[in-house]
Symmetry: C2
């Protein structure tokens, strides 16, 4: 990610390091919560409520709430990042001009942390001082650790997260939508719960495996992790709902 901000680099060596695109990260955020929370909620309610209609209703309300909360949250977070970057950029641009000695000391201080002496750092400082935009970029990244955010990131991020959440959330609800006295497969919510657990655990494992390959954690391990999170959340919600319903 850090390469993108400063243009093309020789990728041949870096390649092996993991560089996730931000859109992929947004899909992962949306899908992992979408597959988990509505699933656990529906499973939990089916431990206490026999009406599939109410379970589907609650599940869809959760999807609406969760996708908006996550999408709008992602939008505002991305916009906040962009504004934070812009305000720090302005600050550094001013300081490079108005407080050149303080900025120079900051450069020495950055290098001092890596046991690089003032003498060794001076040629770099001199080069940076001759190129104020590069100087500012250097401070943004090496003093503040800030990357330039991508353009239009906020809108894209919001939509990607929200739609991934909706897509993930519909999977566990599907079986409950087919519950009815005429259905031989799913006559009751208890039967739908079994199907919901089955298809959602499969979806969680597939999603986890893909994510693991992408991130480099390993497919199997990541598949076990996502299934564990979904399963634990669903079991807790189910247990709690049963407990409260009998209280």
């Amino acid at each position: 990610m850090h390469d993108i901000a400063h243009g093309a680099r020789d990728a041949s060596h870096v390649e092996g390091h993991f560089e996730s695109s931000e859109s992929v990260r947004d899909v992962v955020i949306g899908l992992s919560d979408g597959l988990t929370v509505p699933f656990a909620l529906a499973a939990g309610l089916s431990g206490a409520v026999s009406s599939a209609h109410i379970i589907v209703l609650a599940g869809l309300a959760e999807i609406a709430a969760g996708s908006i909360a996550m999408g709008l949250g992602g939008y505002l977070a991305a916009r906040g990042d962009a504004e934070h970057y812009a305000s720090e950029l302005k600050r550094e641009q001013t300081e490079v001009v108005t407080r050149p000695d303080d900025e120079a000391e900051e450069i020495y201080e950055i290098f001092r942390q890596y046991s690089v002496s003032r003498e060794a750092a001076t040629p770099v400082l001199t080069a940076l001082q001759q190129n104020p935009p590069a100087y500012v970029d250097f401070m943004m990244r090496f003093e503040l650790g800030l990357e330039k955010p991508a353009e239009n990131r906020a809108h894209r991020s919001a939509l990607t997260i929200a739609f991934s959440y909706i897509a993930g959330g519909l999977v566990p609800l599907l079986p409950y939508m087919f519950v009815g006295p005429t259905s031989s497969l799913m006559p009751t919510t208890a039967a739908a719960l079994k199907f919901s657990v089955l298809i959602t655990l499969i979806a969680l494992a597939l999603f986890g495996a893909l994510k693991g390959r992408l991130v480099g954690t390993g497919a199997l391990r990541s598949a076990l992790q996502t299934s564990l999170i979904g399963g634990a959340a669903a079991a807790a919600a189910y247990g709690l709902a049963r407990l409260l319903n009998h209280a």
Copy 2:
């Protein structure tokens, strides 16, 4: 945050820049979702279901599911970060020894992005080569943009996120717990919904204001944002539930 990894620095100037502690970030993550999604779910269900018991049940099931999903998710994410850091560290440690010329080229390349010539960068390279641990730290931060994760971060992160979610999620559910024919304030779920909207919007605004001061976005603006997210999510869930219930 970038200072922490490399020890104390002169804070007098940096102070004004925002440096969020990771625990504060975890509280913010947990609280903002906890105050939003269970609130919206309860509001949504009260548009379709008249039983306060079912609303409380669904709300608590959501809190159980959401807190586990977010907490466990946070735990695994933090552990993944730590492992990613460790594996990249090992890789850089090896490369500094086995591929010194490639690493030297990477140093030149980092500086080239800021228009610093090879000549000016050479003294820094020489200093780093005399101190391999500092060399590796430098590459971790300036080539890969990775920070050393705090010890035990995964456990703390998981618990902080989960408890913040629970604390936030209980606020909107409280009024529904007091619904009953003997209650003069809250005889029906419709009455409880009004109280829930009232106290949750106040909580969202207070939380947003605090967060805004902390992050430097401004209290009022941040308060408006968090209230907007919560309100929009609740309105969408309410509208959807009513629509589906009448369909």
